[in-house]
């Protein structure tokens, strides 16, 4: 059961980051009538999936991914999509305080009761880590009583060992089709993965079913730093 929120703010760096682990949760909030804002920091300009033979170039990819991101928002029923204009793979090199300010401005604007991002130190990609640090800092600097809940996605290989099991698991079977359509919207990046996933789902592979029906979150523990 997903708790009813006042407003949800989702912050990820790349188009498609929302699709795999969070799109079922986003779609559920929207179906419950809760406003959801998705701030996507880059256009995934440095994506490597360009095909062989190539279907895109380094220079044409951003427009393709922007279209796909809009398609994914449409699939989830999300209307407040914000493209924040940073460049893929450069977020960690931006000024850290500028990043915190960007997130703070988003929080001030939409007053979320729940923020969803990655879990710092457990999210693998340097852009994920830099995004997570900025969000955790922005929320952590708010007076404790005013802080929104902060749900973080963690998937580094050492996550289970160090953080233990996730404290929040959303069962999203009811919106599984929406979730799959959100992944399909990012076809330039997901085609190869979807082919494999759809076959495994057709074969009733329990791991694949769990992967599309369960979304796992860790509530951020502010005693861990990044203030």
């Amino acid at each position: 059961m997903i708790a009813k929120e006042k407003h949800v703010l989702v912050v990820f760096p790349h188009p498609d980051d929302e699709a795999f682990g969070v799109s079922g949760t986003i779609a559920t909030h929207i179906q419950m009538g809760t406003g959801v804002t998705y701030a996507c920091l880059t256009l995934g300009e440095m994506g490597r999936n360009l095909g062989n033979p190539p279907f895109a170039t380094r220079e044409s990819l951003p427009e393709i991914r922007k279209r796909e991101l809009r398609g994914a928002a449409h699939a989830m029923g999300l209307t407040d999509l914000r493209m924040m204009g940073l460049r893929d793979k450069t977020i960690e090199f931006e000024d850290d305080e500028k990043m915190v300010d960007m997130i703070k401005d988003l929080i001030d604007d939409v007053s979320p009761s729940l923020v969803i991002t990655f879990y710092p130190d457990y999210c693998v990609h340097p852009d994920h880590e830099a995004t997570a640090r900025a969000v955790v800092r922005a929320v952590g600097r708010m007076p404790e009583a005013e802080r929104p809940k902060l749900h973080c996605v963690a998937f580094a290989n050492n996550t289970q060992t160090e953080l233990g099991p996730p404290d929040t698991i959303h069962h999203v079977e009811a919106v599984q089709d929406i979730k799959l359509n959100t992944m399909r919207a990012h076809l330039s990046q997901t085609a190869w993965m979807l082919k494999d996933l759809e076959k495994r789902l057709a074969d009733q592979d329990p791991e694949a079913i769990k992967w599309v029906t369960e979304e796992r979150f860790y509530t951020y523990r502010f005693d861990q730093g990044y203030n």
């Binding site: 440095m46 490597r48 170039t57």
Partner: protein, 115 residues
């Protein structure tokens, strides 16, 4: 993009010689390489909109090919080039795509800055 055609690429490289040009140079294994294989040593480099002028540029070897640009004071080169395109903005885009269709290297030359 088209598969490498040595004569056509050489003629395009020649057209940008002795002019101020902007360079995009990139090598990458992807940000997940070490996540997928912890023994993998991940390295890459990226430069965008370096303004240079080269006096001589060459493409050598059947694809995956090598491209080298001789600058007044230095060099630029890329290896592993498999495809190219002169895009609608008259920019020479060269890239090396691996067997899975993932970009591994890119060298791009333009008379105007890349966005």
């Amino acid at each position: 993009m088209q598969p490498v055609n040595l004569n056509e690429i050489q003629s395009l490289i020649d057209q940008f010689a002795n002019k101020d040009v902007y360079i995009h140079l990139e090598t990458t294994n992807g940000s997940y390489a070490t996540h997928v294989d912890e023994a993998f040593f991940n390295a890459g480099a990226f430069i965008r909109n370096a303004k240079v002028r080269y006096e001589l540029g060459k493409i050598i070897g059947d694809a995956p090919s090598r491209v080298g640009l001789k600058l007044e004071l230095g060099w630029i080169y890329a290896q592993g080039i498999t495809h190219y395109e002169l895009d609608s903005n008259k920019r020479l885009l060269m890239a090396g795509h691996d067997h899975q269709g993932k970009l591994a290297v890119a060298l791009q030359i333009s008379e105007t800055p890349f966005e």
